[in-house]
């Protein structure tokens, strides 16, 4: 299953969260947050992972980093299989794989200074101590275009965009090779989003980083990604190169998602025909039988209720899971 140019390989990963009810906390069901996803992230690329809220995209990112213990499936980082590691071994692996979180207001401890936040991984892995920490933190702050004099400040003294830079500096402290970016820009204002995206791209070029970029903003994902995977209700429905996906979307969900993007061009907006999906995403506790998208799909047929569509390659590097393609 391992491939030389893949840095992360995810093989049939499942993450079910149990639901307990009653006095004796009997298990009555499970939220099928991630229900069998397989993909590879190649070294140096940005893989975009898109979908609507509740589709399992963040859970996928967190499960790859073993922040949740997966229900089934395997995750390989380079040649190491992660799901079987003991916690200390996993802790050491985390130097290589880091995460940037969505909410820059909630993900930084308000009682810690910038020095403590960014320096914590350096201390906990015993990489630096004393003065060295200050130097390294100052370097990291410069790297994310923040003034190194801010080292003694607290998170509340920074704006949203600046806090997100602190989060990025913390993720970079261990020189990781793989970073999961979990909606790093969706809490930021438009003019600040572009700053952070440009920074992420510059850092990628400088350090050869590999990103898993999770987002729901399809136009930003197209901008930053090399390949894009589209998730719906716990499974990946389509995966291909960025231009191929936007030029030639094959899965009806991808088509609907793309046609729902608001476009900042009044002439184009008036001319295009929109395909508006009916209804809401079904509950992941009881996903529909067969194809999960069939309840909202404009072209669903009888077979879609009976059989889960196979994940197949329909063109060069273009994978899709749909009976009708």
């Amino acid at each position: 299953m391992t491939n030389t140019d893949a840095i992360v390989t995810v093989d049939n990963l499942k993450m079910h969260f149990p639901i307990y009810r009653g006095v004796i906390r009997r298990r009555v069901g499970a939220v099928h947050a991630v229900d069998g996803v397989s993909f590879q992230v190649k070294k140096g690329e940005t893989l975009g992972l898109v979908g609507e809220s509740g589709c399992g995209k963040s859970t996928t990112g967190r499960t790859i980093l073993q922040l949740y213990k997966p229900t089934a499936g395997k995750v390989y980082f380079k040649d190491t299989e992660l799901t079987g590691l003991k916690s200390e071994q996993m802790r050491l692996m985390r130097r290589e794989m880091q995460m940037i979180f969505q909410d820059p207001y909630a993900s930084l401890n308000p009682r810690m200074t910038v020095r403590d936040i960014i320096g914590e991984p350096l201390v906990s892995f015993g990489i630096a101590s004393g003065k060295q920490i200050d130097e390294r933190v100052a370097d990291l702050l410069k790297l994310v275009r923040l003034n190194p004099d801010y080292i003694g400040r607290y998170p509340h003294e920074f704006s949203g965009g600046q806090r997100q830079r602190i989060g990025i500096a913390r993720a970079l402290a261990m020189n990781p090779s793989f970073i999961v970016c979990d909606e790093p820009i969706s809490a930021l204002d438009v003019s600040i989003q572009a700053q952070v995206v440009n920074l992420l791209e510059e850092l990628q070029a400088e350090f050869g980083l590999t990103y898993l970029f999770i987002a729901h903003d399809l136009s930003m994902v197209r901008h930053i990604s090399d390949r894009v995977a589209v998730m719906y209700l716990g499974i990946i429905v389509e995966l291909t190169d960025r231009n191929e996906l936007y030029r030639n979307p094959l899965h009806p969900y991808t088509q609907a998602l793309l046609s729902a993007i608001p476009i900042a061009d009044p002439v184009f907006s008036a001319a295009r025909r929109r395909q508006v999906l009916e209804g809401d995403v079904p509950s992941p506790v009881n996903p529909p039988s067969g194809c999960r998208f069939r309840t909202r799909c404009p072209i669903a047929g009888p077979i879609c209720a009976e059989k889960q569509p196979e994940w197949r390659e329909v063109g060069p590097n273009h994978y899709v899971a749909c009976h009708k393609v």
Binding site: G161, A194, H216, L218, H223, A260, P262
Partner: protein, 330 residues
């Protein structure tokens, strides 16, 4: 001036905080014609919501205070009405839809009771009439099995359906103006598309004027006829929608449009980004509020605050620089 449905003039709103007075809205003037859809665009803290809340007299006072201005609606100044009269306008002739459908409905009242409340209050309907009308309203905004669903509580509705209920409630008394404050921001893209299509349909059927507040230039492009761009409590540009996107003139508008990734983009280009951060408004700006972030900034921008001037009948901009000739001091 006679044919304007709503005419706001020189509106100023401030908030008293422990750190000082925040000058949230600093002299905003705009008109709204009957049946028109006006987009109001800007980033958090630019004053777009406070402007509309002031017009509706929903700014909490204290700490907020409307210090100057007029808001003329049918010959009356909304800012001078007594609290009883403004209540008759609010929810009746002018209604509002808020951003977060999760918190703007009362969780312990059924959807039916919440829909019936304004009908009984503004239109003096009986409970029975109000219920009948509520069923029609839910049907209007596309909620199936309306009769049964009236008995449900908000938590039994999804986010998109709650926003539909909010819209139904806002439209229940046939308002002449619907103010929508970021109504789709909390929703997923496919649900956002549903709501935008719904509003377009209702606009055609009912003919009300709409003020659509948003930070999303994409949504406005497909919906509004005219757009106002706000920054630091000022209107910095105003234009007919096609004109604004084809020919943006203020450096801030240029930056906003430029910082969006192009959906047709095949090869990767670097995004244009506006450096720096939005201003903190503890002092009323005497210079151009955008000067510290502006690539076209000149000596004059630090000394005077430019006022909106007409470039042509459809386009007003508050900027000294000529951004069209590309003489950019970068």
């Amino acid at each position: 001036m006679v044919d304007h449905l709503l005419s706001v003039q020189d509106l100023e709103t401030q908030f008293k905080t422990p750190e000082g007075i925040v000058h949230a809205v600093n002299g905003v003037s705009f008109d709204l014609a009957e049946g028109e859809t006006l987009g109001v665009v800007g980033e958090s803290g630019c004053g777009k919501s406070v402007t509309m809340l002031s017009v509706m007299r929903l700014v909490q006072c204290p700490p907020g205070k409307i210090v100057a201005g007029k808001a003329m609606f049918h010959g009356k100044d909304l800012l001078q009405l007594n609290s009883e009269d403004i209540r008759a306008v609010r929810g009746g002739q002018i209604s509002m839809v808020f951003q977060d459908p999760m918190t703007s409905l009362n969780p312990v009242m059924t959807i039916g009771d919440q829909l019936a409340e304004p009908l009984m209050l503004h239109l003096n309907m009986t409970k029975e009439q109000a219920n009948k009308r509520s069923v029609e309203l839910l049907g209007l905004v596309g909620i199936p099995r309306a009769e049964e669903r009236l008995k449900d509580y908000p938590h039994q509705y999804s986010g998109g359906m709650r926003q539909r209920v909010m819209i139904a409630m806002a439209l229940s008394c046939n308002p002449q103006i619907l103010i929508a404050d970021e109504p789709t921001t909390a929703l997923d893209v496919t649900i956002q598309a549903q709501i935008v299509e719904l509003v377009k349909r209702l606009r055609e059927e009912l003919g009300m004027a709409i003020i659509w507040i948003t930070h999303d230039l994409g949504v406005v492009a497909g919906l509004a006829q005219r757009v106002i761009v706000m920054y630091g409590g000022f209107i910095i540009e105003e234009a007919e929608v096609k004109e604004l996107y084809a020919n943006p003139r203020h450096p801030y508008t240029l930056g906003l449009i430029g910082s969006l990734p192009k959906i047709h983009e095949e090869s990767r280009t670097k995004l244009y980004s506006i450096e720096g951060m939005p201003p903190v408004l503890y002092r009323k700006p005497t210079s151009c509020p955008f000067a510290p972030r502006c690539a076209w900034v000149m000596e004059r921008c630090w000394n005077e605050n430019p006022v909106l001037e007409s470039l042509n009948p459809n386009h007003r901009v508050a900027c000294y620089a000529d951004t069209t000739n590309g003489s950019k001091h970068a």
